[in-house]
C-alpha cells in the first residue's frame, strides 16, 4: 500500500511578525494555499492540510503543542518542509541540531549526495555564497533520522544539511538545516529556482 497524500490545502505557517515570506506569497497564487499566523493555528488547519511549510522563525515551543496533529498529518501521507534548527522532538526519530564549531570557509562547502527533484539541475556549490559571503545557506545539520536520505552535505565530512525522510508510519519530511530556502528576489538566484519546487514537493506533486 502506498501513501497517497489526501487532497487538502498547503498550510504555510507564518511565524515572524510582518509580511509573509516570498515563498508563501508565491504559493498563495495556487489557490489551495493557506497562510496562517502560527499563534492562530488550530487542529483544523492540520486536518485540512496535505502538506505544510515552516520557516526558521518557527516558535518551536508553541509548535510542540501541535505535535499530535502533526503526527496524524504525516500518518495519512502528508508532507512537511522544515527550515531551521531542530531543537524540539516534533516527531519520534528527530534529533537536535548540530552546529559546526567555529566554521571556516572550508567547513561550509556544499556537496550533492543524492539527487532530489527540488535540486535537479542545480549545482549545489552555487548555493554556498551570497555576494561572496558563505554561511547563509546553513552552518550545521539536523541529525539524519534512521532511514532518511541525505540530499546535500556540508563541510569536509559532508554532514547532511538537507535530507528527506519517509517516516516509518507514512508521510515525508524534508529538513533544511539553515536559513529559509526558496526566498524570492534575493542575491542568490537558486532560491527563486527551487521555490516552486519546494511548493510542489510539499503538495506531493514531485
Amino acid at each position: 500500500m502506498t501513501n497517497h497524500p489526501p487532497n487538502g490545502s498547503l498550510l504555510l505557517i507564518h511565524s515572524h511578525y510582518g509580511e509573509p515570506p516570498g515563498l508563501f506569497l508565491l504559493a498563495e497564487e495556487r489557490g489551495d494555499a493557506v497562510i496562517v499566523r502560527e499563534r492562530d493555528l488550530t487542529p483544523a488547519h492540520f486536518t485540512a492540510a496535505r502538506g505544510l511549510i515552516t520557516t526558521s522563525h518557527l516558535d518551536q515551543l508553541g509548535f510542540m503543542d501541535h505535535a499530535p496533529e502533526l503526527a496524524r498529518l504525516m500518518a495519512r501521507g502528508g508532507r512537511w518542509f522544515f527550515n531551521g534548527h531542530i531543537l524540539r522532538p516534533f516527531l519520534a526519530g528527530l534529533g537536535s541540531y548540530a552546529p559546526i564549531a567555529k566554521a571556516r570557509r572550508a567547513d561550509l562547502v556544499l556537496t550533492r549526495l543524492n539527487e532530489h527533484p527540488i535540486f535537479a539541475g542545480i549545482d549545489q556549490p552555487s548555493f554556498e555564497e551570497n555576494k561572496g559571503v558563505a554561511g547563509f545557506y546553513g552552518r550545521g545539520h539536523n541529525p539524519l533520522p534512521q532511514g532518511a536520505l541525505a540530499i546535500n552535505g556540508i563541510g569536509p565530512e559532508k554532514q547532511p544539511i538537507d535530507w528527506e525522510w519517509t517516516l516509518p508510519g507514512g508521510g515525508r519530511m524534508f529538513s533544511h538545516a539553515g536559513n529559509d530556502i526558496g526566498g524570492m528576489g534575493g542575491p542568490n538566484p537558486n532560491h527563486a529556482l527551487v521555490a516552486p519546487r519546494i511548493i510542489a514537493w510539499t503538495m506531493g506533486e514531485i
Binding site: S15, H16, Y17, G18, R37, R39, S56, H57, L58, D59, Q60, L61, G62, F63, G84, H85, I86, L87, R88, Y97, P99, I100, A103, N130, K131, G132, V133, G135, R139, G140
Partner: protein, 206 residues
C-alpha cells in the same frame, strides 16, 4: 534579585536562553502569552530578545508600562518592532549591509559614544559591530551609548519616559548568537549579560 526573559520559542531563542553558556543569566523564562500571569514587579529586569514578534507583545503594553512606572527595568534588543509595545520609542529602519566587511579596511561605522558607561567595562567597540538595522530618535535626557555611521543612536538608556528604565538597542545579538553565526554577537553577550547581572539586577531608584 531576578531576571525574567521573554521566550518566544524560536531555535535562536532556545539556543540563547536554554544552553549552558547563558542559561544561568535568566532566572525565569516566560512565554509572551503567559505574561499576564507573572508578577513582573518581582523581577529587577525584564528582557525582551531580538525578533520577538510584536503582535505577541502588544496585548501586554499596559502591563509593561505599569512595570516600568513602578521602577522596573526593561531591556529590548533589535528587530522586535519594540515601538509597538514599549513607550517613547521612535525607530527608523536602515538597510542592512551584510557584506561591508569584505572590503579591506571597511568600517561599519558603529561608535561607542559614552565610553565611561559601565557597560563598556564589559564591551569594546568591535563587540557592538556586526550589522546595522536602524536608529532611534531618543527622548531628551536619554543616555546614548552607541551610534551608527551617521551618529544616530543605536543603543540607549531611557530613564525619562517612564518611572523606570529602558535599555533599547537595534542590535540583534540573540538572533545571531543563537544561530551560531557571527562571533561578535557572542562576544557582545559574553559582556552584556554579566553587565546585566551585576549592574541592572538590583533594586533600581533614581
Amino acid at each position: 534579585m531576578a531576571i525574567l526573559a521573554i521566550h518566544p520559542g524560536t531555535y535562536y531563542h532556545i539556543e540563547s536562553f536554554e544552553s549552558p553558556r547563558y542559561a544561568h543569566y535568566f532566572d525565569r523564562l516566560v512565554r509572551p502569552e503567559a505574561l499576564a500571569d507573572v508578577a513582573l514587579e518581582e523581577f529587577n529586569v525584564v528582557l525582551i530578545p531580538c525578533r520577538t514578534p510584536a503582535d505577541r507583545m502588544e496585548p501586554h503594553r499596559a502591563q509593561l508600562r505599569a512595570y516600568l512606572d513602578q521602577g522596573g527595568t526593561i531591556i529590548a534588543t533589535g528587530e522586535s518592532d519594540s515601538e509597538l509595545f514599549l513607550p517613547g520609542i521612535t525607530f527608523t529602519p536602515q538597510p542592512t549591509n551584510f557584506w561591508w566587511w569584505l572590503t579591506p579596511g571597511a568600517d561599519l561605522g558603529v561608535r561607542i559614544s559614552r565610553p565611561e558607561h559601565g557597560l563598556f567595562r564589559h564591551l569594546e567597540q568591535k563587540d557592538v559591530t556586526w550589522h546595522l538595522h536602524g536608529w532611534y530618535d531618543v527622548p531628551a535626557g536619554a543616555e546614548v551609548l552607541a551610534v551608527n555611521e551617521s551618529g544616530k543612536p543605536i543603543l540607549y538608556i531611557d530613564e525619562v519616559t517612564t518611572g523606570g528604565r529602558m535599555l533599547i538597542t537595534s542590535l540583534d545579538p540573540f538572533y545571531h548568537h543563537g544561530s551560531h553565526f557571527m562571533p561578535a554577537t557572542t562576544r557582545f553577550l559574553d559582556g552584556f549579560l554579566p553587565f546585566m547581572r551585576q549592574e541592572l539586577d538590583k533594586d533600581y531608584s533614581r
